[in-house]
């Protein structure tokens, strides 16, 4: 039930997004503000680089012992009184959670922000089972009111302006129009507070699962995650298998880098530790805690020595904000729960070849790797996926005509370039042929397959010359040309 994008979706969707200048402005300003904060907090914290290395090492170690850690996590969670369910795929996860809701006769669910529940399409399943589902993270609440998925894994409503939100609240919540974030937030607080107090099911994801203590850690700023795991009588956490870390002492290394990169804070406002149902006589916490541990394609990534690195991701979202492609097309164009650079890697693994174009939609500029708190080599993984796609005929994904031409063109060029003399001669011929059509050395329009170049910029006519025009005609070795 994960939204699987249609075949050539990304091309169409990204074209529309690029034409939307207002979207572009909103993405740029929000992303820049985020990156400024990140720069600041990082600069103020000298141990940042060594914490990155430590966190990376712990992830490497944890993922390399994932089987043992999950056995320990399950044991500890169960000792703490949790029910633990391992779901091989999205459908199993959904069915289990719907089953819990039915068994307990649950009616009203409140959710903290969780990309994993987006990934498994949980909301629709619960609504179809007759539950009322309220997203309670402000950004998620906004996109839910609009009937859209989040466009960013940290800032779900990054594609909307305060005026957009004002108009939305005026329409859907029948409040007088205002574009003041303070007033809009106050209205959401009022509505969601009563949702929290009336809910019988709370759902969140988790940022970390500590095997040693059987504890889930949920990191957030608003307090809605805390409410979701504190107030309703039944609580469900949906956790990817890669979230497990060995020890409590490991956690600080992740917390020291997560918020600094995700939001530019030193720590988020709330770091919630959940380890089981409320104990006898306690006011806080659910009566039942269900932990759904999701594979959903992750074990396949684990089996691939290059793709395994994607499981180190701590979902900070910084690679989205720094990505020149994401910043132009926004999250929805990707047609996947996980947009941006890290999304282009995990989406084809989680959602199959429908997301096959995404790994190609990158200039391999490397900005994502530089900002990644656990130093995931995203460009290398994109290349790795491209090899698999391009070299395996059975996986061939359909390309729009222009792109298909470019792809076959590059192979033809490579064959030609094996013969440098022929290649140079063809360059001279092409230059001579094109020169009459050029204006001061540039062509404004070209036929396919070069029309995609001239669609946005002029094309310089080739000007190969074997000898230099300068006084020093031959190079000093005399051997050349």
């Amino acid at each position: 039930m994960a939204r699987s994008p249609a075949k050539a979706d990304f091309f169409e969707a990204s074209r529309k997004a690029v034409a939307d200048h207002e979207l572009h402005r909103k993405l740029q300003s929000a992303s820049d503000r985020h990156l400024d904060h990140v720069d600041e907090t990082r600069a103020e914290f000298p141990p940042f680089e060594s914490e990155r290395d430590t966190a990376r090492r712990i992830k490497e170690e944890s993922i390399a012992h994932l089987d043992e850690l999950l056995i320990e996590l399950r044991r500890r969670l169960e000792e703490n009184g949790c029910s633990v369910f391992f779901a091989a795929d999205a459908e199993q996860a959904r069915n289990y959670i719907v089953g819990v809701a039915k068994k307990n006769g649950l009616k009203r669910a409140v959710k903290g922000k969780s990309m994993t529940t987006e990934e498994i399409g949980l909301n629709r399943a619960l609504i179809e089972a007759g539950l009322e589902v309220t997203e309670t993270d402000l950004g998620e609440y906004i996109v839910q009111l609009r009937g859209e998925p989040p466009s960013h894994i940290i800032t779900p409503a990054i594609h909307l302006s305060k005026e957009d939100v004002g108009a939305l609240f005026a329409e859907k919540l029948q409040m007088p129009y205002t574009a003041e974030p303070e007033e809009l937030t106050a209205e959401a607080r009022k509505r969601l507070r009563s949702a929290f107090l009336g809910a019988d099911l709370g759902i969140t994801g988790a940022n970390f699962a500590i095997a040693e203590t059987g504890t889930l850690v949920v990191v957030e700023n608003e307090g809605n995650g805390r409410m979701s795991c504190t107030l309703p009588d039944t609580y469900v956490a949906v956790v990817g298998i890669e979230k497990v870390i060995p020890k409590l002492a490991d956690l600080s290394h992740f917390l020291e880098i997560l918020a600094r990169t995700a939001t530019g804070q030193k720590l988020t406002t709330y770091t919630n530790f959940i380890n089981g149902p409320r104990r006898a006589g306690e006011l806080d916490g659910p009566r039942e805690v269900h932990v759904v541990v999701l594979d959903g394609g992750r074990s396949a990534m684990l089996a691939d020595p290059v793709m395994r690195e994607a499981l180190y991701c701590i979902r900070c979202g910084a690679c989205l904000n720094v990505c020149p492609v994401y910043r132009r097309v926004g999250g929805h164009a990707y047609g996947s729960t996980y947009p941006g650079p890290i999304g282009s890697i995990v989406s084809p693994n989680l959602f199959g070849s429908a997301a096959g174009h995404l790994p190609f939609a990158s200039t391999l500029c490397g900005a994502c790797r530089d900002i990644c708190p656990v130093r995931i080599d995203i460009p290398r993984m994109l290349l790795h996926i491209r090899w698999k796609e391009s070299e395996d005929e059975t996986r061939a994904i359909p390309w729009p005509r222009g792109a298909a031409r470019a792809r076959s063109g590059v192979v033809r060029f490579a064959r030609l370039a094996r013969h440098p003399r022929v290649a140079r001669m063809l360059g001279r011929i092409a230059g001579a042929f094109l020169r009459p059509f050029a204006r001061d050395g540039f062509l404004r329009r070209m036929p396919p397959p070069f029309n995609n170049w001239t669609a946005v910029r002029d094309f310089p006519v080739p000007r190969p010359r074997v000898r230099r025009d300068t006084a020093q005609e031959a190079d000093s070795s005399g051997r050349v040309p």
């Binding site: 990204s14 990158s362 391009s390 440098p420 910029r457």
Partner: protein, 240 residues
Amino acid sequence: MDEVALFPTCLAEEFFPEARDAVLVVLERLRLRVRVVRRAFCCGQPAFNEGFRAPARDLARRLVKSCEPGMPLVVPSGSCTSMIKVFYPELFADDPEMLARVQALRPWVFEFSQFLVDVLKVKYVGARFERTVAYHPSCHLLRELKIREQPRTLLSAVNGIRLVELGDRDECCGFGGLFSVKFPHISGAMLGDKLARIRASGANTVVANDCGCLMQIRGGLHRAGDAIETRHIAEVLAAR
């Protein structure tokens, strides 16, 4: 060391002959004998990046066999240099014989500005260039090879130059090889923002170390009818 090899790269050969010439001029002024690699034309990166490793291997094999470890190989492109230094080992991971040759060659491969500053220890090359210059760091140069300061060191020593900053967090210009023609709308949007930054910087010349970026930016400026010029860094260093 008095002899070096130069791999001009296909883009420079076809579209930026003055960049190739300028590299020769600068190296010769530094009293080096330059042997231009003519038996290879392209490093193979376009096919490699698109996922076609077999044709890329053919080209890579050709280039590696045209060069000898022991003689520095100067490449006036961050992208092609990183192809050789960073990606060739991956390309030949399953071919021990070629891998050994690549590993032997790697330490001898240098991007042009890196070669001047880090190997020759040169900062000042006697150049004079009286223009206002915005330097655009190409992505592979910056993030694969980590060459950040070398070009700036060389440029700031040029007489008469005025350097200005683009202030866009060294963002990609949108070229990305085949990306530019497969996703022209996204590439164009990135280019548009880069041009806006260039104009806002007050520069009348954009300098980069990669002909790919120069082709993208030059094509965009020409389309817009803009008088701002583009130069390979070697052209600036060769200017008197």
